[in-house]
């Protein structure tokens, strides 16, 4: 989230698209209702009439996978009706930037597509630059090749009738949404967009998110109280686990994991440190060398020296894509011997589950670390297989629960909150921290004793977390924050700061690229300082009244509660909305008041020291037009890989840079219905954490499939009947839940029915049932690889497996 949960109360209009907070983030509704009590309006856009929709002022039905059409239509509506926040757009976004003449968009395709490789060359989309190397701009936004004009042209195709023909939304509902949400383009109004997996789980998921961001930038809704682009994340610490780089392409703090041709530290930094020729751009990623070197110092301690490139050679270099589905694919081909699952359940949680379960059987060894038996840990005795045929050696390690250990987790609003140990772990279970510590120490001992392939990255790793039986979590938290490795003097404007070796670094602006500081994750620098553990704070003061609670826990970056907040003021530093000032420049004291600002510099109007607000981009301006997306600078509508409809906007049916797997089918004769998966309040994710809790099992005991009354009539299916749902990947059985909450979509004048189901079930635990993901396809977003769980084609028949 750019903002945070409590901030929802500050919104005038809340647009929930591709999420269902009343169901999946129930307590968020406390703050949504607070907004509604004060006159705010809630809009729910969803294929189903959800719990959120039932509370909404406006509900608009949308066919799964058509979000870009829906949002593109809103972008067009705002532009055509003069509803954008013009000063914001002109000053803070790249609307005024001129694009080089090579750029083109024709018949659904951007220029520079390589048909063999199925990829674009984004160089063709670059800004036009002047002799000083700075991007050329036209502040009148009239130049035909400026971003504003290109944007206007691109989305002029997304008129209301075309959009509704694609999305299946009723015209009057769509217009209600457009009028209400685009009405927040005024400086005194705040609109927020909430989204979750309905937006990300798509072959154009990243572009869905970009469409959200584009609309919010046009309306001046990013950086303000009550605004923002707010991803409602799924797990209690998925924000933290992402921050810490548990993904193949990143290291902690969103540093890039090195690629094969970043042959040494110098070439790595050269490649990944963005540059700008504009002194008014803060270009915060220009600090990449400081954060990288501080990370390497945290990992390799005294062994990391300037001479050896701070042990950069010890990091693995990637060549290719090792995203989740690619790993499962390699596993299925026998290319992987060992897998460790720390609280993850690939037998249920990933797409095409039957295939994933088969792949687990190709492993030589599998370690699962969990609170429970999961479908992954007992895959070798799952229904329908003979354990004798599976040669995988399986270790099932019992893990401590959240109340049996101490540490921090980061919520969706980036609040990092400390948890305490209430009791000892049950039985012989141990904390994950303890287990990882044992993995490391034992592997290290083996390498020290026996030698082996390139042992140094392991044997020379700095791993100093106390002398206790278990690692001291506070020492880990202190290392994450970072400390000075030697006595250091830092000049910060008119102040001279003295630090001693071993002092905690107060904030990341003091991190250095010469080895004098460490930081295990630079964005968390400031979380554990000389003043102690900031994440454990419980001061409930709220000086702005906006619900920022600046002394409750700690949030990255630098305890800034709403990011990009310099965009909430005009170039003179005055809040756009005087009623809800987030930050304001005090010209007398020459400092910002309110939330922690996005950098200390004076307002943009200050010709010498002022900076643009979008500090993480080299050009300092929000990107209405992107330079580095794999599938184009503007989000463009394509159909899901399995779709009942032809693309009405262009002859290009699906995202052209996404390669299609074999086991997908858009044969509507065989699979006439749109399938989609989702979650319920009473269960969680792959189900291990809830399907063994009697209270929750009593509430939702069985796997079920929802279908409309019309489809039920047509198929002779009654409520509670067993049904079988089939896709090109496989079939499942479940109880039918016939409901008026599901309605067919109008697709090109034809009624297309939908079938919906939760994906929480599996064959392990107290409550068992077939897994929704047996049905879903292994095809993912062009940029992230996140699978298209939300839109596929299926058939439904009365009767279970035997039926």
């Amino acid at each position: 989230m750019t903002n945070h949960w409590i901030d929802l109360k500050n919104s005038d209009v809340i647009l929930a698209i591709g999420c269902n907070p009343a169901e999946n983030h129930p307590i968020s509704f406390k703050w949504i209702e607070k907004s509604m009590d004060a006159g705010g309006r809630l809009i729910a856009v969803d294929p189903r009439y959800t719990r959120t929709a039932s509370k909404a002022d406006i509900y608009a039905q949308i066919r799964p996978g058509t979000d870009i059409a829906f949002l593109g239509g809103l972008i067009n509506y705002a532009l055509q009706n003069g509803l954008i926040h013009e000063e914001y757009v002109r000053e803070y976004t790249n609307a005024t930037f001129i694009i080089n003449e090579e750029f083109d968009f024709q018949d659904g395709m951007f220029c520079s597509f390589d048909d063999q490789e199925k990829s674009y060359d984004p160089k063709a989309w670059a800004y036009a630059t002047g002799p000083d190397g700075k991007p050329l701009r036209d502040r009148s936004m009239k130049e035909p090749n400026c971003v504003y004009q290109l944007l206007k042209k691109h989305y002029s195709r997304y008129d209301v009738d075309k959009v509704c023909a694609i999305t299946g939304t009723r015209r009057e509902d769509y217009l209600k949404v457009a009028k209400a949400f685009c009405g927040t383009g005024r400086p005194d109004k705040a609109g927020t967009i909430l989204y979750a997996m309905g937006i990300t789980q798509s072959t154009h998921g990243s572009q869905n998110v970009r469409a959200v961001a584009l609309l919010q930038m046009l309306l001046g809704n990013i950086g303000i109280a009550g605004g923002g682009v707010n991803a409602l994340r799924g797990e209690s610490n998925v924000q933290g686990s992402t921050d810490y780089g548990l993904l193949f392409h990143i290291l902690p703090g969103y540093l890039k994991s090195p690629e094969f041709d970043n042959v040494d530290l110098k070439s790595y930094l050269e490649k990944w440190t963005p540059k700008t020729k504009d002194p008014r751009s803060a270009n915060w990623w220009g600090n990449t060398p400081k954060y990288t070197v501080s990370l390497l110092k945290a990992w390799y301690g005294e062994n990391a020296t300037k001479e050896n490139g701070f042990c950069y050679d010890y990091l693995p270099k990637r060549m290719g894509n090792y995203s989740y589905t690619k790993i499962i694919e390699r596993m299925g081909q026998g290319g992987i011997e060992g897998l460790v699952c720390m609280g993850m359940n690939p037998a249920v949680g990933g797409p095409d589950s039957n295939n994933a379960r088969e792949a687990l059987g190709k492993l030589k060894w599998l370690v699962t670390v969990d609170l429970w038996e999961t479908e992954s840990s007992i895959f070798w005795k799952r229904p329908g297989v003979n354990p004798k045929d599976i040669q995988t050696e399986v270790f099932m390690l019992p893990a401590a629960s959240s109340v049996e250990k101490e540490g921090s987790i980061s919520n969706s609003g980036r609040w990092t909150q400390w948890r305490y140990k209430a009791v000892e772990p049950v039985g012989d279970s141990r904390s994950d921290l303890h287990i990882i510590d044992e993995f490391y120490k034992r592997v290290k001992a083996l390498y020290a004793k026996e030698g082996g392939a390139f042992p140094e990255p392991i044997t020379r790793l700095a791993w100093n977390y106390g002398n206790g039986h278990e690692p001291d979590v506070h020492l880990v938290a202190r290392e994450i924050n970072g400390y000075f490795t030697k006595d250091t003097t830092i000049k910060d404007k008119d102040k001279t700061l003295e630090f001693k070796a071993g002092d905690q670094v107060p904030m990341f602006k003091y991190l250095q690229d010469d080895g004098s500081t460490t930081s295990g994750c630079w964005i968390y620098c400031g979380s554990y300082t000389k003043e102690g553990n900031q994440m454990a704070r419980r001061d409930s003061s709220d000086p702005t009244g906006l619900g920022l609670f600046p002394k409750w826990s700690w949030c990255w970056p630098v305890n800034r509660r709403i990011i990009y907040n310099r965009a909430s003021v005009n170039p003179a530093g005055e809040p756009f909305n005087a009623k809800r000032p987030l930050i304001a420049w005090d010209a007398l004291e020459k400092k910002w008041k309110g939330d922690v600002p996005d950098g200390p510099w004076p307002p943009m109007k200050d010709e010498k020291e002022g900076k643009y607000p979008f500090i993480m981009l080299a050009e300092g301006h929000g990107r209405l037009y992107a330079l580095d997306m794999k599938d184009g600078p503007f989000p463009e509508h394509y159909e899901p890989v399995e779709s009942p409809a032809r693309n009405l906007l262009s002859p290009v049916q699906t995202n052209p840079v996404v390669k299609l797997p074999k086991n997908v089918s858009s044969d509507t004769g065989k699979f006439p219905y749109v399938g989609t998966t989702y979650r319920v309040t009473e269960h969680w994710q792959a189900g291990a954490m809830t399907r063994s809790l009697p209270w929750l099992v009593e509430l939702v005991p069985d796997m079920f499939v929802e279908l409309s009354e019309t489809l039920a009539r047509q198929k002779g299916i009654g409520n509670g009947d067993m049904v079988r749902v089939t896709t090109e990947r496989g079939s499942i059985e479940a109880k039918a839940l016939v409901t008026s909450r599901l309605k067919p979509f109008n697709v090109g004048g034809k009624q297309v029915e939908q079938v919906g189901m939760p994906w929480h079930f599996g064959y392990a635990g107290l409550a068992t049932g077939d897994s929704g993901n047996v049905l879903t396809p292994t095809v993912g977003c062009a940029n992230t690889g996140i699978p298209e769980f939300k839109a596929f084609l299926c058939n439904i028949e009365k009767g279970g497996r035997k039926g």
Binding site: F248, S408, T681, G785
Partner: protein, 190 residues
Amino acid sequence: MGISRRKFLQGGALAAAGVALTGKPGEAAVDAPELRTKGLKTTTTICPFCSVGCGLIVQTKDGRIVNTEGDPQHPINQGALCPKGGALFQIANNDRRLQKVMYRAPGSDRWEEKSWDWALERIAQRMKETRDKSFKAKELNKKDNNEYVVNRTDGMAFFGGAGLDNEECYLWTKFARAMGVGQLEHQARL
């Protein structure tokens, strides 16, 4: 850490519970909250389910969790919880929780109970064998036909992390990269 009983009562949660049980505010005291909470140790925690980050208080007696409920002082949830958060108690007290290290030999149809020491040593050996066997010091790039130093272990993958604490995630990524594991992925990719 810890919340005094007085502060806790200021949140009104138990008082309200008393009202709900007896129906009459005047009789709330009959429910005698001080008896129920006597001798309890209270700590705070954050819900392990969704990402809202609701606060809970956890009350223990004789090393067992006897009560969990919404933290009335927490600014996000102000004492409220959803059904999952309300069921945290049953994670801590649940017969189905794994209590022992279990092992399944190749081709076997059953679990065997093992000691931590046995299992961890064997896992460390497996990790080392796989790493030594599959470690790639160099890799050929087919596009330019050059060999590059990659120092990567391709025979092993590490999954998971969204259910771990930050400090655990940090050691997990540090360990993974030191092992040369490029195939490090978790729930954020799904």
